[in-house]
């Protein structure tokens, strides 16, 4: 049977990808951000997941306003990255796991979700940057992926409560999957930032820390926020917290293993959280 090893939340800012491409991880600006990642990398090296299920939001690479799915699940054998128009180098393709993808599709539809399924799906920096952060020594990550896109471009967006419930449905589908697979669930984005309008540059470190604190043991406290409230508290793009809540929904009773926060990263509250669900994690933490 498949099992979920744990969950990771991480920022995915394009500037991180540029810094990696230029080898700037040790510069004064970037070192405080990248310095947070080695414990997450070690946790992955130790637990060695086979598959990463990645909740992310597309920024106008795969989806345009002509067709904008609220939830879209990748069901491809391979996912390609492509030119996003703002100077990021194109990342190598990443292998998929179509069998698990379809099991997740079956599972979430059985729980009354209505996802779009994608046998071709370009993954943007919201997938590729986290993979580079978490497996920095690999040109392509040593995992297969199932990308799940959540619309954060065009309102109305799905609610925090709904995204959390989607994560629960995805988690149940993974755990019901009959093949022996170790799975890590990743949510990418955020935390607080706003790129647009006279309010551009808004950042809320106190709210980011509240999110990091509550998402482990009391995620319901966060799912009670409306999206308007989240935009007010976290900024128009800080709404990417929805990805973290979907990821957390796939976990049961995780243990906080590692947390890192550094702001600003570009215009953003940069955050990393590792939650472990492997047997014994709770005992170790106790």
């Amino acid at each position: 049977m498949a099992k979920i090893l744990g969950g990771i939340g991480t920022s995915h800012v394009p500037a991180i990808g540029r810094a990696i491409a230029r080898g700037e991880q040790q510069t004064p600006y970037w070192a405080p951000f990248f310095g947070g990642y080695p414990p997450a990398q070690r946790w992955l090296a130790k637990t060695r997941p086979d598959v990463a299920v990645v909740f992310y939001n597309d920024h106008g690479l795969n989806f345009f306003l002509d067709k904008m799915p609220t939830f879209a699940i990748g069901a491809a054998a391979e996912y390609r990255n492509a030119d996003e128009g703002w100077g990021l180098s194109v990342a190598p393709p990443v292998a998929g796991d179509p069998e698990l993808s379809w099991a997740i599709v079956e599972g979430v539809v059985a729980r009354d979700f209505d996802p779009t399924t994608c046998q071709e799906m370009l993954i943007d920096h919201a997938v590729t940057v986290p993979l580079q952060l978490l497996w920095p020594d690999h040109a392509a990550p040593p995992v297969r992926i199932v990308p799940i896109a959540i619309n954060t471009v065009q309102h109305p967006l799905p609610s925090a409560r709904r995204c959390f419930a989607l994560g629960q449905a995805v988690g149940a589908a993974i755990e019901a999957f009959p093949r022996d697979l170790d799975v890590v669930v990743i949510g990418t984005g955020g935390l607080s930032h706003q790129l647009d309008g006279e309010r551009a540059g808004f950042l809320n470190a106190a709210f980011d820390r509240e999110c990091l604190e509550k998402i482990v043991d009391e995620p319901e406290a966060l799912t009670r926020y409306t999206n308007d409230e989240l935009v007010e508290l976290a900024g128009t793009q800080g709404i990417e917290l929805l990805m973290w809540l979907a990821m957390r929904g796939a976990l049961r009773k995780p243990v906080r293993t590692h947390q890192h926060y550094h702001a600003p990263v570009s215009n953003t509250g940069g955050a990393l959280l590792v939650m472990d669900e492997t047997p014994g994690a709770a005992a170790l933490a106790a």
Partner: protein, 112 residues
């Protein structure tokens, strides 16, 4: 109905309908050849995508607030800003009427 958040335009159906042509132009800029064509003759490229006068004027002025008012979405507009050599701090500074240095300082202050 959304609550009003100062300095914030939620990109909803109304904005998406209004800004469709503008955002479609920006989406085309994922392609390097299209970026070159846009850079070579911005008015002609805007004409090709059927931008309305307000959108054309906002592009000509490189005015991000006006682009948003004309229905632009920041994720797509960022691709256009990239052609102009503007990063997200430049765009933030322009929208807030600050120098880029002052905008960066504001980001730092809030992070504390």
């Amino acid at each position: 109905m959304s609550r009003t958040i100062p300095g914030t335009t939620l990109f909803d159906g109304e904005q998406a309908a209004k800004g469709y042509a503008l955002n479609k132009l920006c989406f085309s800029l994922n392609d390097a050849a299209n970026r070159a064509a846009f850079a070579a003759d911005e008015p002609a490229y805007c004409e090709r995508f059927g931008l309305n006068p307000a959108q054309k004027a906002a592009v000509a002025a490189r005015d991000v607030l006006a682009l948003i008012a004309a229905g632009g979405n920041i994720y797509y507009l960022a691709k256009m800003a990239g052609v102009w050599g503007l990063n997200v701090q430049d765009v933030g500074a322009q929208q807030t009427g600050m120098s880029v240095e002052a905008f960066k300082a504001k980001l730092q202050e809030q992070a504390a």
